[in-house]
Amino acid sequence: MTGAGGEAADDDRDRALLAAHVGGDPDAFGTLVLQHRDRLWAVALRTLGDREEAADALQDALLSAYRSAAGFRGEARVTTWLHRIVVNACLDRVRRRQARPTVPLPERDGAADPADPRDALAERETALEVEAALAALPVDQRIAILLVDVHGLPVEQAAVVLGVPSGTVKSRCSRGRARLALSLGHLRNRPDARPVTPASGRTAPGAAPRPGGTA
C-alpha cells in the first residue's frame, strides 16, 4: 500500500495517461489499464465468482471506459472512476443473469507460499474458507467489503464507486462482516447462537458453497 504521497503521484500519472488518451494517444489507455488491471480483475472475479463472466465484465467495462474517457470530470481519482465502471458492469451482469455466486479457486503463485508446507496448507485452507464465505454474501455487502476491507479503499471512495452514501457503505461492510463472522465460526460460541436461515437472507454456518465452481 502506498502512502498518500504515492497515491497522489499515481493519480497524477493516471490523469496524464487519461488526458493523453483523450488527446489521441493510441497507447495511453493501454498503459493505464496495465497499472490497474490486476486489482480490477480481483474485484470483478470476486464479485461475479465466475472467471469467464469476470473476464467479459472487465473487458466490457474497460472498453466502455476507453470510449467514455472524455467524460471523466476529474472529481474522483482515476482508479475510483475505473472501479466504478467495473463494479457497475459486474452488477449489471448479476442483475441480468442472476448469476449464482461461485467460488473462484485462487490461483496462487508458488513463490508466495510459505516454506513450511503445513503452513501453506493451513493458509490455503483459511483463504479458501474466507473466499467461500465472501462468495456467499449478498452481492452489495460483498462488493463493499472487497473495496473497503480487502482492497483498502477509504469508505468515502467506496461510496463514490458504489454511488451510495458513506453510511450505506459502512452498514454494508458491518453487516457483511457480521455474516462472515458467522460463516467463519467466530460467533459459534455465543450463548444464543443459532443457524441463520436462508429465509432471513442469511447464511447458516457451514452452508457456504465449497470451492470448485466454475473458476
Binding site: 493501454g30 490486476d38 480481483a42 476507453y66 485462487p106 452498514s171 458491518s174
Partner: protein, 333 residues
C-alpha cells in the same frame, strides 16, 4: 437486502426495525450499531443478551478483518490479460493525431518531471505480446555480452559521472557500454526518477545495500567475460565492475537474481527492445524497485531524441510473461 432505515430525529437510524419477535436486536441491527448507523444504546442498556452478543460481534469483527486482509488477490491470468489488452489496443484512438493535435500525452504537473506515456509506442502495436522473432532474441543475447561486463568500462567514466550529462549516452551506445547498477530508486516516484536519471545513465547512481549487487550470478558457463572487456579503471559508485568477483555473490533470497542471469535477462530484454532495431541496446539497467517491490528498470533510447524510454519489469520478466510494471518516457536530463 434491507438497507438502513431513514435516520430518526437524532440523526441515527431507528433500531426498532431490527428487533426480532423475541425483543432482541437482529444481526443487522447489531452490525449497524457497530457501524454507527443505528443507535441501539437505549435498548442495550436494558438488554444483557444483546449487550453480550454485541461484544462478541465486536471481537469477531477484528478476526474477520484480519482474515480478509490476509487473502491474496487472484492473479490475472494471461488467458484473460492478453485478450483484454488486445481488445484495448484494437480500439481506434479517440482523436486521430494531427499536426495540430499531436498524440503527445499531457504532461504531469510541473513538479513531477517524468511524463508518462504509451507503453507500446516503442514496440509498435503488437497488442502487448512478447516479441517472438528469433532475431530479437539473438540481438538481445548478443548485447548481453556487453550487459554483463560493461559497467562503465572506459577510463573516462568517472568524468562522465561528474559531468552527469545524458548527452553522453549516445557515445556509450556506440561503444556498446551502459551502466548496470542498483540505485535503490523506486521508479513509481516520478520526481525521484527525474532527479536520479542522470546518475542512472552515467552509472554514478549509488547502491543502497550490499544485497542489491547487480550482475550477481551473471557469469554463467557459456558467457565468458573476455579479458578485453573487463573494466580497467575504478568504477563509479553504484556501478558494479563485472570482473569483480565480489559482485558475483548474491543473496539467495534476492528476487531479481534471476534477471542477473544473462540468458534470463536476454529473454526479458527481448520484450522491451524494439524488434525493428536489432542494434538497439539499453542505456542503463537498474536493479531497483517499483512501488517497493524489486524491479528491473531498463532505460532505452526513445524515438524522440529529446526523450528516453523507461521500462520497469518485475522479477518474472520473460518473453512468456513480460511482468511489465510501468512504462514512462522522460525528457533527457
Amino acid at each position: 437486502m434491507t438497507e438502513p432505515q431513514p435516520p430518526g430525529p437524532d440523526g441515527h437510524l431507528d433500531p426498532d426495525g431490527h428487533l426480532e419477535s423475541n425483543g432482541h436486536l437482529d444481526l443487522d441491527g447489531l452490525a449497524d450499531h457497530l457501524a454507527g448507523e443505528v443507535d441501539a444504546g437505549l435498548h442495550l442498556t436494558t438488554c444483557g443478551g444483546c449487550t453480550a452478543r454485541l461484544a462478541e460481534l465486536e471481537a469477531a469483527e477484528h478476526l474477520v478483518l484480519a482474515a480478509l486482509r490476509s487473502i491474496d488477490d487472484p492473479p490475472l491470468p494471461a488467458a484473460v490479460a492478453d485478450p483484454l489488452m488486445a481488445a484495448v489496443a484494437a480500439e481506434p484512438p479517440l482523436v486521430e493525431p494531427t499536426a495540430t493535435s499531436p498524440a503527445a500525452p499531457a504532461p504531469v504537473p510541473a513538479s513531477r518531471g517524468a511524463t508518462v506515456v504509451a507503453l507500446e509506442e516503442r514496440r509498435g502495436r503488437r497488442a502487448w505480446m512478447p516479441a517472438a522473432a528469433a532475431g530479437v532474441v539473438l540481438a538481445a543475447g548478443g548485447l548481453l555480452g556487453y550487459a554483463v561486463v560493461s559497467g562503465s568500462q572506459d577510463g573516462d567514466s568517472s568524468e562522465s559521472a561528474t559531468a552527469g550529462r545524458v548527452g553522453d549516452a549516445p557515445a556509450a551506445e556506440a561503444r556498446g557500454a551502459f551502466p548496470t547498477l542498483a540505485s535503490g530508486l523506486d521508479y513509481a516516484d516520478p520526481t525521484a526518477l527525474t532527479a536520479a536519471l542522470p546518475s542512472v545513465l552515467d552509472g554514478s547512481a549509488r547502491q543502497d545495500s550490499a544485497q542489491d549487487q547487480p550482475l550477481a550470478d551473471a557469469q554463467l558457463p557459456g558467457s565468458p567475460l573476455p579479458d578485453t572487456q573487463l573494466p580497467a579503471t575504478p568504477q563509479p559508485a553504484g556501478s558494479v565492475p563485472a570482473g569483480d568477483p565480489s559482485a558475483l555473490t548474491a543473496p539467495a533470497a534476492d528476487p531479481l537474481a534471476r534477471l542477473r542471469d544473462p540468458v534470463a535477462l536476454a529473454d526479458c530484454l527481448a520484450v522491451v527492445l524494439d524488434p525493428a532495431d536489432p542494434s538497439q541496446q539499453p542505456l542503463a539497467l537498474d536493479y531497483a524497485t517499483y512501488r517497493g517491490q524489486p524491479a528491473l528498470a531498463v532505460v532505452l533510447p526513445d524515438p524522440d531524441p529529446a526523450r528516453l524510454s523507461v521500462f520497469v519489469v518485475g522479477p518474472a520478466c520473460s518473453r512468456a510473461d513480460d511482468d511489465l510494471q510501468f512504462f514512462t518516457r522522460v525528457t533527457r536530463p
